[in-house]
Symmetry: C2
Subunit: 463 residues, 2 copies
């Protein structure tokens, strides 16, 4: 007997096929002389309806065990379904129960649970419809990302998680140490004696793989990272995680226009892929979570993103008939309210804002001839805000050194990064995508903690 | 003018095509009236030969700048090559130099450098033939892994990097903390006051995503992790990294035989994929690094792995006409010398040893009816030793609780892991693959530090 996944049976199973399935009970309905069992194996949102006739051996004993959450194996024959809601169902010939789930204690009963409650049972919540759909879509997003870059000849590069570099986000770094926190060794001057630590110096969890990705782009032309990054920011909001996944492509011989083109093609590709591979899950989100997600996906796939400069954006915001909490003027960073106005109200689609003031952006972004702006761009998505941030990188050694010093850093600390400009420097550009923000955007899930299997947030590192 | 990647030109470029390429100079050869420039863009081991005629505008000035490592853009026409070693070459019509590389200071001159030296310039070493080939093959291995699992309906799940669980590798864990190491807060009893730390408790870098992968397998049936893992083990060897990538599939409704079948199919798939996508790089490794890598790949793809139990392995080792440093007897863990004897000398191919003594294996492995062995398996590869370790997991609540207690741990600490056995437990199995070991195995590179872009080892966290 060939084992089959339920997604595939629901899609293409034919009457009279003999099959074997394995999964978990979602619901049980007992009628006179027979019972309907909805069995789910995680391959799809929909479950397969199994019909058990009372003539089956041990019918009573088995039915008693088949409560929500119990695991089982069923062999039987596919038959056309008489009932509503399914094309086909499985007439059981043999049912084996692997593990029961006591209805008195199993937390996932048929009723609807709040996401807050489900976060406290993170080890079980993937068994619900919502989280099943979220993590299937999350996987599809990830697969789409790899497909997009691999097809275009980009190498996936693994940049380091533990880093000695603290130049990008000082104050928001997690320390990594092999030292015993109960007994930190001291130098003669009473400083921490890092010489005794595992790496012989202070080390942190990375906040970005970009600088190392640039190293790799200077050898392979086109590369991308896709890995975990960290912020020790004490933000207890629905938008922040201490540990999240980032995607960071980096392209040699590429300017900001090429960067924006790639980012737009990238988002379109991912949405298309997910709609094609997870149509049922996306339909579910549209019905149950946010009735705009399908329209949003359509909008992204079929429209050009609106491109405008920061200076143009400021001008539009100044003209806007809206009272902003943070007043707008050239030189200030855009706040969430401004980003939302542009993407949601004014253009009603993703917006790419470019050429930000140099003062509010990172040292590595390429200074324009006006010496006031840098070749940076942010993609602002309706409801999510900034989903992608990118820039052309400063490839000129002298300009980069000046910018490093101006931001209070030591060029010596970045000797290897500067070497990239000393030896065979080229125009290059890249962007960063917060992967969980993308999954939120895709699914309409309101809280970022509900799109990653095991969220890490202040005071919370369960499971 | 359409920009082309050099790999693609070398594969399928045709005479008379007008093209544009961008890359870096590998070598320059000046002859009377013209020059040959080998240009590499990282897309392939081989470079494209560019022919520059002295009639080109600024010929002398440009040639002077085109030293090894300089970056450039060339437009021109493809012509059949008169020289040996290439089918086609590019007759330059315009050459633009982006960035020079001073031959007096640029560390990568034409001569061969030791891997030790190249590790000190990790930001440049990817520009060499060896590391170019290594990281293209590394990417191909990674792409093959995703392809293998995605095609089989496995979900890629992101298990947490920061974990509060210390039950798997106590003593070899990196601490993660938001506390200031210079000023660790204390409780009244002078213990570390973790209540003030970011997560409100001690946290570490993960050593494995397996337990969380089991959570996900209990909802989606088949999942895999592919992410970084960590060991704070002070091992300064060619086989150890403090930070490395692991692949950990986990399958519900699967026993140890299914686990071994999957692991074998998996390795065959990855080798096949890499041979197909990186034939030139693999040829390079076979010629320059280890003249057995192609034979090994062939062996893996075309032979069934040898399967035997630990008990059988011990018996074969006892009969072996070899003086082992560690004498063999039932109950002892296999040492590297034993593993190598089995894989390299006795069977001359990968060997799967299964059913190890319970005492030397982890608590979560399924106890067999003999109550002496567990359903564990290791795949031992010639020259590499253990490349995959897997097991069927203990799915019986009572047995698992006893094993946890027997190993000196607290069942309460693993309440969520035990819940998986309380509610809908199923037979399940999985394995772990050290990704860098796989890349070593594939390429023949002797030191594990040379198959990851930025190695993390004791006293070393550069770049």
């Amino acid at each position: 007997m060939v084992k089959r996944r339920i997604a595939e049976i629901l899609r293409s199973g034919q009457p009279d096929e003999s099959i074997l399935i394995q999964g978990w009970v979602r619901t049980k309905r007992e009628l006179k002389g027979f019972a309907f069992i909805e069995v789910n194996d995680g391959s799809s949102l929909a479950s397969l309806q199994v019909v058990m006739n009372q003539n089956l051996p041990d019918y009573e004993a088995i039915i008693k065990k088949l409560n929500t959450g119990a695991s089982l194996e069923v062999t039987g024959v596919l038959v056309p379904s008489q009932g509503k809601g399914q094309r086909i169902e499985l007439k059981a010939e043999m049912v084996e129960v692997y593990g029961e789930a006591d209805p008195e204690t199993y937390p996932l009963q048929k009723k609807r649970h709040s996401y807050e409650f489900l976060r406290t049972i993170g080890h079980l919540r993937s068994r619900t419809n919502s989280f099943g759909a979220v993590f299937r879509v999350r996987n599809a997003c990830a697969a789409a990302i790899h497909q997009f870059f691999q097809e275009r000849g980009f190498l996936w590069v693994h940049t380091p998680i533990i880093t000695a570099s603290d130049c990008e986000g000082a104050g928001e770094l997690f320390n990594v140490t092999g030292l015993n926190l109960k007994d930190i060794p001291r130098t003669e001057n009473n400083a921490v004696d890092y010489a005794q630590d595992f790496f012989g110096r202070p080390t942190y969890l990375t906040v970005s793989g970009q600088l190392e990705a640039e190293v790799m782009a200077m050898a392979f032309s086109n590369v991308y990272t896709f890995g975990p990054t960290f912020r020790a920011e004490n933000s207890n909001t629905s938008r922040h995680l201490a540990e999240f996944w980032m995607v960071e492509p980096e392209m040699a011989f590429c300017d900001l226009d090429g960067d924006m083109d790639l980012a737009e093609a990238f988002l379109k590709h991912v949405f298309k892929y997910v709609l094609e591979t997870c149509p049922e899950d996306m339909e579910f989100f549209n019905q149950r979570i946010d009735d705009t997600v399908l329209a949003t996906a359509d909008n992204i796939i079929n429209n050009e993103f609106q491109r405008l400069t920061y200076t143009e954006a400021i001008s539009l915001l100044e003209k806007a008939d809206v009272k902003f909490e943070y007043p707008v003027s050239w030189g200030l960073d855009l706040q969430s309210e401004h980003e939302r106005y542009l993407a949601e109200q004014l253009f009603k689609k993703p917006v790419i804002v470019s050429d930000y003031p140099a003062k509010i952006k990172a040292f590595y972004m390429r200074l324009s001839d006006d010496e006031k702006t840098v070749r940076a761009m942010d993609i602002l998505a309706p409801k999510i805000g900034e989903i992608i941030g990118g820039s052309q990188r400063e490839e000129r050694l002298d300009v980069l050194e000046k910018r490093i010093i101006a931001q209070g850093m030591q060029p010596e600390d970045l000797w290897w990064y500067l070497d990239l400009r000393r030896y065979g420097t080229v125009p290059h550009a890249g962007f960063g995508l917060g992967f969980e923000r993308l999954v939120q955007f895709m699914t309409g899930m309101a809280n970022i903690r509900d799109v990653i299997p095991f969220p890490r947030t202040p005071q919370s590192a369960d499971f």
